[in-house]
Amino acid sequence: MATFINSKTIFRLLVLPCLLLYSSIAHNSSSVEATMHTNNWAVLVCTSRFWFNYRHMANTLSLYRTVKRLGIPDERIILMLADDMACNTRNKYPAQVFNNENHRLNLYGDNVEVDYRGYEVTVENFLRVLTGRHETSVPRSKRLLSDEGSHILLYMTGHGGDEFLKFQDSEELQSHDLADAVKQMKEKLRFKELLIMVDTCQAATLFNQLQSPGVLAIGSSMRGENSYSHHLDSDVGVSVVDRFTYYTLAFFERLNIYDNASLSSLFSSYNPSMLMSTAYCRRDLYQRRLEEVPVTNFFGSVMETIHTDAAYKALSRKDSGRFKAQMSLDQSVHHHERRTLINVNDQDEILNTKAEDQQGASTCPFTSFYEKLRKGENVDSLVNYGLVAMLPLLGVSSWLFQ
């Protein structure tokens, strides 16, 4: 009797851990991502207006320039500027925005594409951009058209405080709003990984409510600390850049598009005494180790090139595993060297081209035609043949079946 009770209790004791083990295995397997990193997006937001907030505009434009220099095209950058400093009547240098008193770089250049300008930069529009819930009339250039393979850089600067960020001096974005938007994005598979970088006072508090996996958050200061501007430009008359962004840019100016610097080196380059605040990085939601993530995963856009002759087709999931293996292999080979662009061909294509080159005569035309059809090439010519064949078919059938 005692043994019977004992075995039953033992059985019950074993069931619970087994269930826990099973659920943890299931969770782990579900958290293994089957998607491949296919594109990079950047959402750069400057939330302050008025002339004395020149530095926030310069921050955002500097990061815009950096991100473009490292490879993200304008189509994948959403730039939101709350005010126009370049053509402000108080700007001594019209159509020019500087982030340094040496005036070496004109950030406004020839090639700035602002998507949301002036009063369009509101909390509502910002949240609409993130979640993708727009009116039908909003053009494509104003939408964040990311998908499940996107890495998104979200950079926000302006005035902030404990769990809020001020927009346009009249409204605020709170930490739970941001967390909610990010959660919606995760549900709708709008990003694979998200890097949020905030340069405001008490920036780290904005990340308090984030819960979604795959999010890395870097803030310029902790709770109770202010983020300071770097220096005052006596010619322009206002401070032209913030410290956090200044040192971030100092890090990036050393890089070019092929460099392999990792996020941990970016974060370790922040010196609290120079920043006059403690930069904070929230990594608990981010599964990968920062040492192995190159900065160009978020700030640039270096992709391996897959060469096909067919019209663009999104890669299917079963191919992604194959390419991932090749990518990691190449990374380990060129770890500290210049990374070269990789030409990865479809297996079938390699075989086909080799066969044709070597033999000179192609295989049976029907099988090659069928292969082409299967791969979706020359669809247009097939449709054209079909249309042209319609006419003689019509004529013959009308003549035969009078």
Partner: protein, 466 residues
């Protein structure tokens, strides 16, 4: 006498071709005006379904490997993209833009005119044959002479070619000439008992714009009974009266064999067309996407930009709660008229087709003048039967007035801002009223004509009552 008749026929056909060539030259002259006289931007000419700009946009999207229906610009068939798409981008040095596309429209118009003429000849032969079998040829001798001067085929073809609406639709780079050609091909095939051709025309016409689907009923009547003829009752009455056992003079009864052939060929052609469309849209969502963007767009009236129809104004102000209800009402408005007309006019399938075309050209989601051009041309087939139509002068003046005032009201509303939408909608309403009057008076004139024939057959043999 015969020689003179032959010479007259020759001169008649010679002058017909003269007129055709003159119309081609006239169209070419208009095409060479700069920017096609901006006709392509008129809402009366280019609707979301027939616009040339949208075709070019759809083709460009396709070339960029995006779905041609992205952005809700293009709503037509993918086959038109493959056929006409390359013509939208081809430029010849020193010639006006889109010259090749305009030439395609001109060729489509000429082919339609030739087919209308051939069908008209068929109709005339059938009419004469039926008059002979009713033994009332002598009484209608006056109209018989009239036949020789202007046959219905020539009249209809020339009206179609020289109708300002057709010319404007051709020069204004819309796809209406091609849609009209498909409908006329279908009717020609049905009149000439070429079943594969009729099935092809019907499938293509339905594929390009949804509404010609209702023409299946006149096509079935044409294939089953033959072209227009007086009611069967007359033939039976005549035989009963005179007790003539000559059955060969009776018209053929309804035969089902051509109908089964038609069904087979229609299925074959629709499978062919759908397979081609499916292949060309395989990567962009396939056939369901195509149906949603073409037929779905037509049926749900998504685009409310002004046109010469009456739906846009109404759907701009209807509440969302009632929107589906009124969509059903407007489309059933067309469907309700099919059955009664089919019952009443089953002995005259070509006229039934004309009435159906007039009805759906008026009540379709996005009408344009190209659609009206079709039925105004087909009106020419019935110049003899409809000679006594009432209000003909009023209708003619009304059409002229509306076609002149409608652009004026549009300019007042959009460009000058001194008018509003009601100005433009007023002309659209008047246009709809004119079309309704035309249909009603046309049907009553045709029925009067049948009544007249019945009186002629049942009356005692006397002098000609014309």
């Amino acid at each position: 006498m015969q020689k003179m008749g032959k010479q007259k026929n020759k001169t008649a056909s010679f002058s017909f071709w003269n007129w055709v060539i003159a119309s081609i030259i006239f169209r070419l002259i208009l095409i060479y005006f700069p920017k096609n006289l901006n006709l392509a931007s008129r809402p009366e000419v280019s609707t979301p379904l027939t616009s040339f700009r949208r075709l070019a946009e759809g083709y460009w999207l396709k070339q960029l490997s995006m779905s041609p229906y992205a952005g809700s610009m293009y709503h037509g068939s993918p086959l038109l993209l493959s056929l006409l798409g390359p013509l939208t981008v081809k430029r010849i040095e020193g010639q006006p833009n889109h010259l090749l596309y305009s030439l395609v429209s001109v060729i489509a118009d000429v082919v339609s005119a030739i087919l209308i003429r051939a069908t008209g000849k068929n109709l005339r032969l059938a009419y004469l044959r039926s008059l002979e079998s009713l033994d009332i040829v002598k009484q209608t001798k006056a109209s018989g002479e009239f036949f020789k001067i202007l046959s219905p085929g020539d009249a209809a073809a020339l009206i179609y070619l020289w109708n300002p609406f057709t010319i404007v639709a051709c020069v204004g780079l819309s796809t209406s000439p091609i849609e009209n050609m498909a409908v006329i091909l279908c009717l020609y095939g049905a009149c000439s008992r070429l079943v594969p051709l009729a099935a092809f025309g019907w499938v293509i016409a339905t594929h390009l714009s949804l509404y010609p689907a209702i023409l299946i009923i006149p096509v079935i009547f044409l294939l089953g009974c033959g072209p227009d003829a007086p009611p069967r009752k007359l033939f039976l009455q005549k035989n009963d009266k005179e007790e003539v056992l000559n059955k060969s003079k009776l018209p053929l009864g309804f035969s089902w064999r051509p109908i089964t052939h038609f069904a087979f060929w229609a299925l074959l052609w629709s499978a062919y067309v759908l397979v081609l469309c499916g292949i060309s849209l395989k990567q962009f969502g396939g056939l369901w996407e195509m149906f949603k963007s073409t037929y779905g767009f037509i049926l749900t009236v998504e685009d409310l930009s002004p046109n010469i129809g009456v739906l846009w104004y109404f759907f701009a102000e209807v509440f969302d709660f009632f929107r589906n209800f009124f969509l059903i009402v407007f489309h059933v408005n067309i469907l309700f008229m099919i059955m009664p007309l089919a019952i009443r006019l089953n002995h005259r399938p070509c006229f039934l087709a004309f009435v159906y075309i007039a009805i759906f050209s008026m009540l379709k989601s996005y009408p344009s003048v190209g659609d009206s051009a079709l039925y105004l041309g087909l009106l020419g087939w019935f110049v003899n039967e409809l000679a006594d139509i009432q209000f003909s002068f009023f209708l003619f003046c009304g059409y002229v007035g509306v076609s002149l005032l409608s652009p004026v009201m549009h300019t007042l509303w959009i460009w000058r801002g001194t008018g509003n939408a009601n100005f433009y909608f007023a002309t659209a309403m008047v246009y709809a009223c004119l079309q309704i009057i035309l249909v009603v008076e046309g049907v009553s004139a045709m029925l009067n004509h049948d009544r007249k024939l019945r009186n002629l057959t049942t009356s005692k043999p006397q002098d000609a009552k014309s």
